[in-house]
Symmetry: C2
Subunit: 104 residues, 2 copies
Amino acid sequence: MHHAQMDALGDATRRAILERLLEGPIAVGELAREFPVSRPAISQHLRILKRAHLVTDRAIGTRRLYQVNPEGIEALRAHFDRLWSHALAAFKKAAEKPTTKEGR
Amino acid sequence: MHHAQMDALGDATRRAILERLLEGPIAVGELAREFPVSRPAISQHLRILKRAHLVTDRAIGTRRLYQVNPEGIEALRAHFDRLWSHALAAFKKAAEKPTTKEGR
DNA sequence: TCTTACGGTAAGCGATGTCTTACCAAATGC
DNA sequence: GCATTTGGTAAGACATCGCTTACCGTAAGA
Protein backbone atom coordinates (compact mmCIF):
# COMPACT_ATOMS: atom_id res chain seq x y z
CA MET A 1 0.00 0.00 0.00
CA HIS A 2 2.12 2.93 1.22
CA HIS A 3 4.93 0.51 0.48
CA ALA A 4 4.67 1.26 -3.23
CA GLN A 5 4.31 4.95 -2.45
CA MET A 6 7.60 5.10 -0.56
CA ASP A 7 9.34 3.14 -3.29
CA ALA A 8 7.96 5.61 -5.82
CA LEU A 9 9.41 8.53 -3.89
CA GLY A 10 12.79 6.85 -3.66
CA ASP A 11 13.86 8.38 -6.97
CA ALA A 12 14.82 12.05 -7.33
CA THR A 13 13.37 12.40 -10.83
CA ARG A 14 9.98 11.09 -9.71
CA ARG A 15 9.98 13.51 -6.79
CA ALA A 16 10.72 16.35 -9.21
CA ILE A 17 7.89 15.20 -11.49
CA LEU A 18 5.50 15.15 -8.57
CA GLU A 19 6.58 18.65 -7.54
CA ARG A 20 5.96 19.84 -11.10
CA LEU A 21 2.48 18.32 -11.13
CA LEU A 22 1.62 20.38 -8.08
CA GLU A 23 1.58 23.41 -10.39
CA GLY A 24 -1.20 21.88 -12.41
CA PRO A 25 -2.06 19.13 -14.92
CA ILE A 26 0.37 18.68 -17.79
CA ALA A 27 0.78 16.37 -20.78
CA VAL A 28 3.54 13.79 -21.02
CA GLY A 29 5.46 15.39 -23.89
CA GLU A 30 5.37 18.83 -22.39
CA LEU A 31 6.52 17.41 -19.08
CA ALA A 32 9.41 15.58 -20.78
CA ARG A 33 10.65 18.84 -22.32
CA GLU A 34 11.17 20.23 -18.85
CA PHE A 35 13.41 17.38 -17.78
CA PRO A 36 16.84 16.23 -18.94
CA VAL A 37 15.59 12.72 -19.73
CA SER A 38 13.71 11.26 -22.68
CA ARG A 39 9.94 11.04 -22.99
CA PRO A 40 9.84 7.23 -22.54
CA ALA A 41 11.73 7.67 -19.30
CA ILE A 42 9.07 10.11 -18.14
CA SER A 43 6.36 7.63 -19.13
CA GLN A 44 8.01 4.94 -17.04
CA HIS A 45 8.19 7.23 -14.05
CA LEU A 46 4.57 8.24 -14.48
CA ARG A 47 3.55 4.59 -14.56
CA ILE A 48 5.21 4.00 -11.21
CA LEU A 49 3.65 7.13 -9.73
CA LYS A 50 0.28 6.04 -11.08
CA ARG A 51 0.53 2.56 -9.59
CA ALA A 52 1.37 4.19 -6.27
CA HIS A 53 -1.82 6.24 -6.55
CA LEU A 54 0.16 9.45 -6.36
CA VAL A 55 -1.05 10.72 -9.74
CA THR A 56 -4.04 10.26 -12.02
CA ASP A 57 -4.31 10.65 -15.79
CA ARG A 58 -6.97 11.30 -18.40
CA ALA A 59 -6.94 11.37 -22.19
CA ILE A 60 -7.51 14.63 -24.05
CA GLY A 61 -7.38 13.74 -27.73
CA THR A 62 -4.01 12.17 -28.42
CA ARG A 63 -2.56 13.85 -25.39
CA ARG A 64 -2.70 12.51 -21.85
CA LEU A 65 -2.86 14.86 -18.89
CA TYR A 66 -1.36 13.86 -15.58
CA GLN A 67 -2.12 15.47 -12.26
CA VAL A 68 -1.46 14.82 -8.59
CA ASN A 69 -3.84 12.56 -6.68
CA PRO A 70 -4.75 14.27 -3.40
CA GLU A 71 -5.87 10.99 -1.86
CA GLY A 72 -2.45 9.44 -2.35
CA ILE A 73 -0.70 12.46 -0.90
CA GLU A 74 -3.10 12.42 2.02
CA ALA A 75 -2.23 8.82 2.76
CA LEU A 76 1.42 9.75 2.94
CA ARG A 77 0.72 12.71 5.17
CA ALA A 78 -1.31 10.56 7.55
CA HIS A 79 1.44 7.95 7.60
CA PHE A 80 4.10 10.45 8.63
CA ASP A 81 1.78 11.99 11.17
CA ARG A 82 1.57 8.62 12.91
CA LEU A 83 5.28 8.02 12.47
CA TRP A 84 6.08 11.33 14.09
CA SER A 85 3.87 10.78 17.12
CA HIS A 86 5.42 7.35 17.60
CA ALA A 87 8.92 8.77 17.26
CA LEU A 88 8.15 11.42 19.82
CA ALA A 89 6.81 8.84 22.25
CA ALA A 90 9.85 6.63 21.71
CA PHE A 91 12.17 9.55 22.28
CA LYS A 92 10.47 10.60 25.51
CA LYS A 93 10.54 7.05 26.82
CA ALA A 94 14.24 6.74 26.02
CA ALA A 95 14.99 10.07 27.70
CA GLU A 96 13.51 8.81 30.97
CA LYS A 97 16.01 5.99 31.38
CA PRO A 98 18.94 6.67 29.05
CA THR A 99 21.24 3.95 30.49
CA THR A 100 19.07 0.97 29.70
CA LYS A 101 20.93 -2.31 29.48
CA GLU A 102 18.49 -3.63 26.90
CA GLY A 103 17.79 -6.81 28.79
CA ARG A 104 21.05 -8.56 28.00
CA MET B 1 18.37 18.13 2.90
CA HIS B 2 15.11 16.18 2.83
CA HIS B 3 16.60 14.82 -0.37
CA ALA B 4 18.78 12.40 1.57
CA GLN B 5 15.88 11.58 3.84
CA MET B 6 13.66 10.47 0.98
CA ASP B 7 16.49 8.45 -0.54
CA ALA B 8 17.00 6.78 2.84
CA LEU B 9 13.34 5.78 2.96
CA GLY B 10 13.49 4.38 -0.55
CA ASP B 11 14.60 0.98 0.77
CA ALA B 12 12.22 -1.45 2.49
CA THR B 13 14.83 -2.75 4.92
CA ARG B 14 15.68 0.75 6.11
CA ARG B 15 12.01 1.51 6.63
CA ALA B 16 11.70 -1.67 8.70
CA ILE B 17 14.75 -0.70 10.75
CA LEU B 18 13.25 2.71 11.42
CA GLU B 19 9.98 1.11 12.49
CA ARG B 20 11.88 -1.15 14.86
CA LEU B 21 13.72 1.80 16.39
CA LEU B 22 10.36 3.34 17.25
CA GLU B 23 10.04 0.66 19.93
CA GLY B 24 13.15 1.96 21.64
CA PRO B 25 16.95 2.18 21.39
CA ILE B 26 18.74 -0.99 20.35
CA ALA B 27 22.31 -2.10 19.65
CA VAL B 28 23.54 -2.99 16.17
CA GLY B 29 24.10 -6.69 16.80
CA GLU B 30 20.79 -7.19 18.49
CA LEU B 31 19.09 -5.34 15.68
CA ALA B 32 20.81 -7.51 13.09
CA ARG B 33 19.51 -10.67 14.75
CA GLU B 34 15.96 -9.52 14.08
CA PHE B 35 16.57 -9.13 10.37
CA PRO B 36 17.36 -11.65 7.65
CA VAL B 37 20.51 -9.79 6.60
CA SER B 38 24.03 -9.70 8.01
CA ARG B 39 25.27 -7.27 10.65
CA PRO B 40 27.47 -5.31 8.20
CA ALA B 41 24.41 -4.79 6.03
CA ILE B 42 22.61 -3.34 9.03
CA SER B 43 25.58 -1.09 9.74
CA GLN B 44 25.46 0.24 6.20
CA HIS B 45 21.75 0.96 6.46
CA LEU B 46 22.26 2.68 9.79
CA ARG B 47 24.95 4.87 8.28
CA ILE B 48 22.54 6.05 5.60
CA LEU B 49 19.79 6.65 8.14
CA LYS B 50 22.26 8.55 10.30
CA ARG B 51 23.43 10.78 7.45
CA ALA B 52 19.78 11.54 6.74
CA HIS B 53 19.39 12.62 10.37
CA LEU B 54 16.67 10.06 10.89
CA VAL B 55 18.54 8.25 13.67
CA THR B 56 21.18 9.05 16.29
CA ASP B 57 23.68 6.77 17.98
CA ARG B 58 25.74 6.69 21.15
CA ALA B 59 28.40 4.34 22.49
CA ILE B 60 27.70 2.19 25.56
CA GLY B 61 30.89 0.27 26.17
CA THR B 62 31.63 -1.74 23.05
CA ARG B 63 28.02 -1.60 22.06
CA ARG B 64 26.44 1.21 20.09
CA LEU B 65 22.80 2.12 20.64
CA TYR B 66 20.74 3.56 17.83
CA GLN B 67 17.47 5.39 18.24
CA VAL B 68 15.12 7.47 16.12
CA ASN B 69 15.80 11.17 15.76
CA PRO B 70 12.53 13.05 16.35
CA GLU B 71 13.85 16.15 14.59
CA GLY B 72 14.44 14.26 11.38
CA ILE B 73 11.01 12.67 11.51
CA GLU B 74 9.48 16.06 12.21
CA ALA B 75 11.15 17.49 9.11
CA LEU B 76 9.54 14.76 7.02
CA ARG B 77 6.16 15.34 8.60
CA ALA B 78 6.36 19.07 7.91
CA HIS B 79 7.40 18.41 4.34
CA PHE B 80 4.41 16.20 3.63
CA ASP B 81 2.12 18.64 5.36
CA ARG B 82 3.16 21.30 2.87
CA LEU B 83 3.01 18.82 -0.01
CA TRP B 84 -0.50 17.88 0.91
CA SER B 85 -1.78 21.46 1.12
CA HIS B 86 -0.21 22.19 -2.26
CA ALA B 87 -1.70 19.06 -3.78
CA LEU B 88 -5.11 20.01 -2.47
CA ALA B 89 -4.79 23.50 -3.91
CA ALA B 90 -3.65 22.12 -7.26
CA PHE B 91 -6.54 19.70 -7.33
CA LYS B 92 -9.12 22.38 -6.59
CA LYS B 93 -7.69 24.67 -9.24
CA ALA B 94 -7.77 21.86 -11.80
CA ALA B 95 -11.36 21.02 -10.87
CA GLU B 96 -12.48 24.56 -11.68
CA LYS B 97 -11.43 24.38 -15.33
CA PRO B 98 -10.94 20.72 -16.25
CA THR B 99 -10.66 21.30 -20.04
CA THR B 100 -7.56 23.46 -19.99
CA LYS B 101 -5.63 23.53 -23.24
CA GLU B 102 -2.36 24.05 -21.37
CA GLY B 103 -1.38 27.05 -23.47
CA ARG B 104 -0.34 25.16 -26.57
C1' DT C 1 48.44 -8.95 28.93
C1' DC C 2 45.55 -11.97 26.39
C1' DT C 3 41.05 -12.99 24.94
C1' DT C 4 36.45 -12.02 23.73
C1' DA C 5 32.62 -9.15 22.14
C1' DC C 6 31.10 -5.51 19.29
C1' DG C 7 30.77 -2.87 15.27
C1' DG C 8 32.61 -0.01 11.35
C1' DT C 9 34.69 -0.38 6.63
C1' DA C 10 36.53 -2.21 2.07
C1' DA C 11 36.14 -5.17 -1.91
C1' DG C 12 33.57 -7.78 -4.89
C1' DC C 13 29.41 -9.85 -6.65
C1' DG C 14 24.69 -10.15 -8.00
C1' DA C 15 20.33 -7.91 -8.39
C1' DT C 16 17.61 -3.97 -9.21
C1' DG C 17 16.62 0.19 -11.43
C1' DT C 18 16.96 3.86 -14.79
C1' DC C 19 18.12 5.30 -19.10
C1' DT C 20 18.25 4.94 -24.22
C1' DT C 21 16.58 3.63 -29.00
C1' DA C 22 13.24 1.33 -31.67
C1' DC C 23 8.73 0.08 -32.49
C1' DC C 24 3.80 0.21 -32.09
C1' DA C 25 -1.27 1.76 -31.45
C1' DA C 26 -4.65 5.45 -31.19
C1' DA C 27 -6.54 10.00 -32.25
C1' DT C 28 -6.49 14.22 -35.00
C1' DG C 29 -5.96 16.94 -39.38
C1' DC C 30 -5.36 17.28 -44.30
C1' DG D 1 -7.71 7.61 -47.39
C1' DC D 2 -2.94 9.13 -45.62
C1' DA D 3 0.22 11.80 -42.74
C1' DT D 4 1.17 13.70 -38.25
C1' DT D 5 1.15 13.94 -33.38
C1' DT D 6 1.15 11.79 -29.02
C1' DG D 7 2.47 8.45 -25.81
C1' DG D 8 2.85 3.60 -24.13
C1' DT D 9 5.90 -0.51 -24.33
C1' DA D 10 9.94 -3.72 -25.27
C1' DA D 11 14.79 -4.71 -25.31
C1' DG D 12 19.16 -3.79 -24.13
C1' DA D 13 23.08 -1.12 -22.10
C1' DC D 14 24.67 0.94 -18.16
C1' DA D 15 24.82 2.55 -13.47
C1' DT D 16 23.41 2.12 -8.86
C1' DC D 17 22.40 -0.36 -4.86
C1' DG D 18 22.27 -3.90 -1.38
C1' DC D 19 24.41 -7.93 0.28
C1' DT D 20 28.23 -10.95 1.66
C1' DT D 21 32.87 -12.15 3.36
C1' DA D 22 37.06 -10.57 5.16
C1' DC D 23 39.55 -7.53 7.88
C1' DC D 24 40.47 -4.04 11.31
C1' DG D 25 40.16 -1.10 15.63
C1' DT D 26 38.24 -0.49 20.21
C1' DA D 27 36.42 -1.64 24.80
C1' DA D 28 35.48 -4.85 28.52
C1' DG D 29 36.71 -9.18 31.18
C1' DA D 30 39.75 -12.84 32.75
